[in-house]
């Protein structure tokens, strides 16, 4: 299958300390890829490189056959929830979701009817249509997370990238969100960054373990041994049958 994201021998550092070392990764179309790894292992950095928000020190990244910056508008991005600290901003759910249409609509003036229909569709998909007019400051963590996902879906992306989409929300909501992503996966490539390898292994096709260096595993390979290598300490793992 054709690869939508091709990363070859990428190195990156913010200061002198390397964050990513010789990372190579090829993501085929319509894959559901999980990226796991310890804190400061370079997960968010890799995402930002794929989005073209950062430039690699060396190596190449191609997204949909183009430079990442050129492929941006065809990618949907859900930022990490704790870094999204503008909850006091005076804006409601609908206007936030509509921002996903920027880059497609006319440059001047307001949103078109099509934009509003697409935004409504995205809100329906994540079941937040009933709170469309609520200010985002009044939402719960789970609701805000759905708003951010709806905003990314409103981009009608070919690739959807989510950075820790289920941090700070309870297990039940987490299952809902991953179930939803699984549905979208049949026409969309999805990349999810998570710290919770046990949970996501039930949904994703493949897991990329990232701690400066990147190693990929198919989900049935995930064992305590691999996690131990990745995190450097023994971990207890609960096997759950799906």
């Amino acid at each position: 299958m054709k690869a939508v994201i091709e990363i070859e021998n990428v190195n990156f550092s913010y200061t002198r300390e390397p964050v990513l070392r010789n990372v190579s990764l090829s993501v085929p179309a319509e894959e559901f890829l999980g990226i796991v790894g310890p804190n400061a292992g370079g997960k968010s950095t890799l995402i930002k490189l794929i989005l073209g928000l950062l430039q690699p020190d060396s190596g190449t990244i191609r997204v949909l056959g183009k430079a990442p910056v050129m492929a941006r508008t065809r990618t949907g991005y859900v930022p990490q929830y704790p870094t999204f600290s503008r909850r006091d901003f005076p804006i409601n759910v609908l206007d936030t979701v509509l921002m996903g249409r920027l880059g497609f609509t006319s440059r001047l003036g307001g949103y078109s009817k099509t934009d509003r229909n697409i935004a409504t569709g995205a809100m329906q998909a994540v079941e937040i249509l009933d709170i469309a007019n609520r200010p985002i400051g009044s939402l719960s963590g789970g609701q805000l997370q759905r708003v951010l996902i709806a905003r990314a879906l409103a981009c009608k992306p070919e690739i959807l990238i989510l950075d820790e989409p289920t941090a700070n929300i309870d297990m039940r909501v987490e299952e809902d969100i991953f179930g939803l992503l699984k549905q979208y996966n049949d026409h969309m490539t999805i990349i999810v960054v998570s710290h919770d390898i046990g949970f996501i292994s039930g949904y994703v096709d493949r897991v990329a373990c990232l701690n400066q260096m990147l190693v990929c595993h198919t989900t049935d390979e995930i064992s305590g041994k691999i996690i131990e290598e990745l995190y450097g300490t023994p971990v207890r793992m609960i096997h759950h049958a799906h």
Binding site: F89, P90, I91, N92, D95, T96, M99, P135
Partner: protein, 276 residues
């Protein structure tokens, strides 16, 4: 009371002053909203104070101080935006430098200017009673420029203020809109210098918008409400200051401060009332 108000507005200088307040309120409410939600109040303060450099130089050369103010405000805005985009971590130092170096340059040029010593106080603290018809036209033009830009690029300004990273991913030139926003802040500062002077500008730019933020949850409504608040505050300040011959700019600012405190209390009461 009504008689008193109709009486004082029978003077043409008071009519001009009131019109000046209302015109300034339009730009003030709209741009003040962005300044508050984007938390760039002190950047606006830096631009405002550095304006004295332009005013001083213009006065020294015998040109219009207001033209000097406009030019230096725009230069300061572009420079602050540009330097800040490159070396973001030194924002506070940058603002402090523009703030006081700008004022120092202004004071030097004013002190070197021949002839009778100008009323420095009216630049610093404003004097809306001295506003001329030409000033009013200039204010009207500045309002129109601000309104047109905000209507055309409303979504881009909103997105860039709300979530820079996401806006960038949607293909919005975040840097361009940041510089454009600071230029509009600069124009608004010039607009408000007439009313309250460059030292007090900051309060009038921020307080009506911050008061409005207590009651609404959309940028559009916040803009509308802060225009209304600032018109109310400036007009009331003007009327109150007239009889005891108080400095109008300072009266307006004290009112703005009181208004802000009252709106916080009112918001608290509304919350309490809703919960019970």
């Amino acid at each position: 009371m009504i008689n008193f108000i109709t009486e004082i507005f029978s003077y043409s200088f008071m009519q001009h002053a009131l019109l000046g307040c209302l015109l300034a309120s339009v730009g003030c409410g709209i741009i003040g909203t962005y300044v508050v939600v984007k938390r760039i109040g002190f950047m606006a303060g830096g631009i405002a104070h550095s304006v004295l450099a332009g005013m001083g130089i213009a006065y020294f050369m015998g040109a219009s101080p207001l033209a000097g103010a406009m030019i230096s405000a725009l230069i300061a805005a572009v420079l602050i935006a540009w330097i800040n985009l490159r070396w973001r971590q030194h924002e506070d130092i940058l603002i402090a430098a523009f703030w006081s170096v700008g004022m120092a340059i202004g004071v030097i040029f004013i002190s070197r200017t021949e002839g009778y010593n100008i009323d420095l106080m009216s630049y610093l603290f404003g004097n809306i009673l001295l506003v001329t018809t030409r000033d009013l036209y200039l204010m009207l033009i500045l309002d129109i420029v601000i309104l047109v830009l905000v209507v055309l690029f409303y979504r881009q300004f909103l997105a860039a203020a709300f979530d820079e990273e996401f806006s960038r991913l949607r293909g919005i030139n975040v840097e361009f809109y940041y510089i454009l926003l600071l230029c509009m802040v600069a124009l608004t500062v010039v607009l408000l210098i007439q009313v309250v002077g460059l030292i007090l500008v900051l309060a009038l730019l921020i307080l009506p918008a911050a008061s409005a933020a207590q009651f609404v949850s959309s940028i559009k409504r916040m803009m509308l409400l802060s225009v209304i608040f600032s018109a109310l505050i400036t007009a009331t300040g003007l009327i109150i200051s007239y009889e005891p011959d108080l400095p109008s700019g300072s009266t307006i600012i004290i009112l703005a401060g009181m208004f802000y405190i009252l709106s916080i209390i009112a918001q608290g009461l509304i919350k309490k009332f809703r919960n019970t």
